[in-house]
Amino acid sequence: MMETEFAVVGAGPAGLSAALEASRTGVQTVLIDENQAPGGQLFKQIHKFFGSKEHWAATRGIDIGIKLLMQVEKAGIKVMLDTVVWGIFDGGKVLAIKEGDRNRRVRAEKILLATGASENPLAFPGWTLPGVLGAGAAQTLVNLHRVLPGTRVLMVGAGNVGLIVAYQLLQAGANVVAVVEALPKIGGYGVHASKIRRMGVPILTGHTVKEASGDAMVERATVIQIDEQGNPIPGTEREFEVDTICIAVGLHPLAELAWVCGCEFTYISELGGHVPLHTEKMETTMPGVYVAGDVAGIEEATVAMEEGRLTGVDVARCLGYISNRKAETLTREIQARIELIRSGPFGEVLGEAKERLIERRG
């Protein structure tokens, strides 16, 4: 059995930041990721991030990823790629991993689950036809693999993911025929909406996709207006000739490992559904098991990085690498930065949801 002080599951923005923060103080740290490359979703975020200087504002996600990886390499942190964590045992002390064909166990004093999120599906007649895919999947195809999923796209959902991916599909040369949003309002940032509007993409609020049709793949999408109760209004159907329908109707925490480990959960819809209860230092109800990033509630990558740092600081404190006082100072600095990101009409909702979550943890 492999032994380490701190095992981080998931090498996205939260996991990388946690590993860096802990290892900088001397904590022996291992990063584990099931993908072939670390970075999580950062490498498909080709847009410039919002925020302040401390949050890498105006830097593209992909470049933040490159910088974090360079730091991880410089810090000499052990990174295990292509490695799936399939179980967690001994009250959250032992990870069961599959590394290539080999099964192994990793015993760690502290474990961070930074496993991210998964896209919500949307079921409608024809949704299993080839050509219907998650917006995140389309983003991976375009920005990582440089393959267009199709040439005429209908985007379902006008949150930030829907708006940003619509823009990036346009950049990649696709024609986005429309963005439909079931709610009466655009959920994402107005500036993201403005970007695609001036490129000629209509945004239909109060509309949803009724049906996808085609012989062997998507050839048409039928869009329908819905009333404020969410009921379709007959007679308002509109057809779009498309070969691709992207679904961007939210994300939910990818929390299986927290479930099997015995962490207590609560349901908070603003954070994406079932979320592991955690303290403000990101520890779950299982002692020594932390969560950070989207698995702890769907927010921005900037918040994920800060939550990772919070974890790293607390792990370093618990293992005796930094004093309580030093940890307290660092924690307060990080929390002040998170507070900034969570201010404003968009962030406040998440900040309040997160407060409720932490209160329930007690």
């Binding site: 504002a57 001036r198 000629g200 609020t205 900034l340």
Partner: protein, 170 residues
């Protein structure tokens, strides 16, 4: 104020009249000046730090809207590519008797060529006039957000925020 934006994704003239980042008519007549279309309180402030003249203030509460000091601003346009929302433009109504200059962020390929005739496109994606590409800036420090300057008929200086090629291929 946010009503139209969150409904349609398009800021109206009435919305923009209330923006603390929009310069006066008189200032635009005098020469190039930033025209900031950032009207939603999102936590972001790179525009404040990139400005060499200290003409943009967001302040400590980074959700506050950027406030333009139109006298300090010399219209250099460094704020155009730094804005992650692509929401900052430069307008110069002193360009000529008939034409105004509009500087806008552009993240598509191919980039247009100087001298090329294009359509000036408004906030709703409609081609509203003919325009001429006057300048294309894409230095490394703009980090792959090019800035394109268009000469547009003066009447469209506050409408044109994008452009479209006249033919599919150059």
């Amino acid at each position: 104020m946010r009503e139209s934006l969150s409904k349609t994704g398009v800021l109206t003239k009435e919305d923009l009249a209330q923006s603390p980042g929009v310069p006066s008519e008189e200032r635009m007549e005098r020469g190039p000046v930033a025209y900031i279309e950032c009207m939603e309180e999102i936590p972001c402030d790179p525009c404040e730090f990139v400005c060499p003249k200290g003409a943009i203030t967001v302040g400590k509460q980074i959700i506050d809207l950027p406030v333009l000091d139109e006298e300090k601003c010399d219209g250099c346009g460094l704020c155009i590519p730094i804005c992650p929302g692509l929401a900052i433009f430069v307008v110069d109504k002193s360009h000529s008797d008939k034409e105004a200059l509009v500087g806008l962020p552009y993240e598509q390929l191919p980039l247009p060529k100087v001298g090329m005739k294009v359509y000036g496109v408004d906030r709703e994606g409609k081609a509203v006039c003919e325009a001429r590409v006057v300048k294309v800036l894409n230095p490394k420090k703009f980090d792959r957000t090019a800035v394109v300057y268009l000469a547009v008929p003066r009447a469209f200086a506050l409408d044109v925020r994008h452009f479209a090629f006249m033919e599919e291929e150059e």
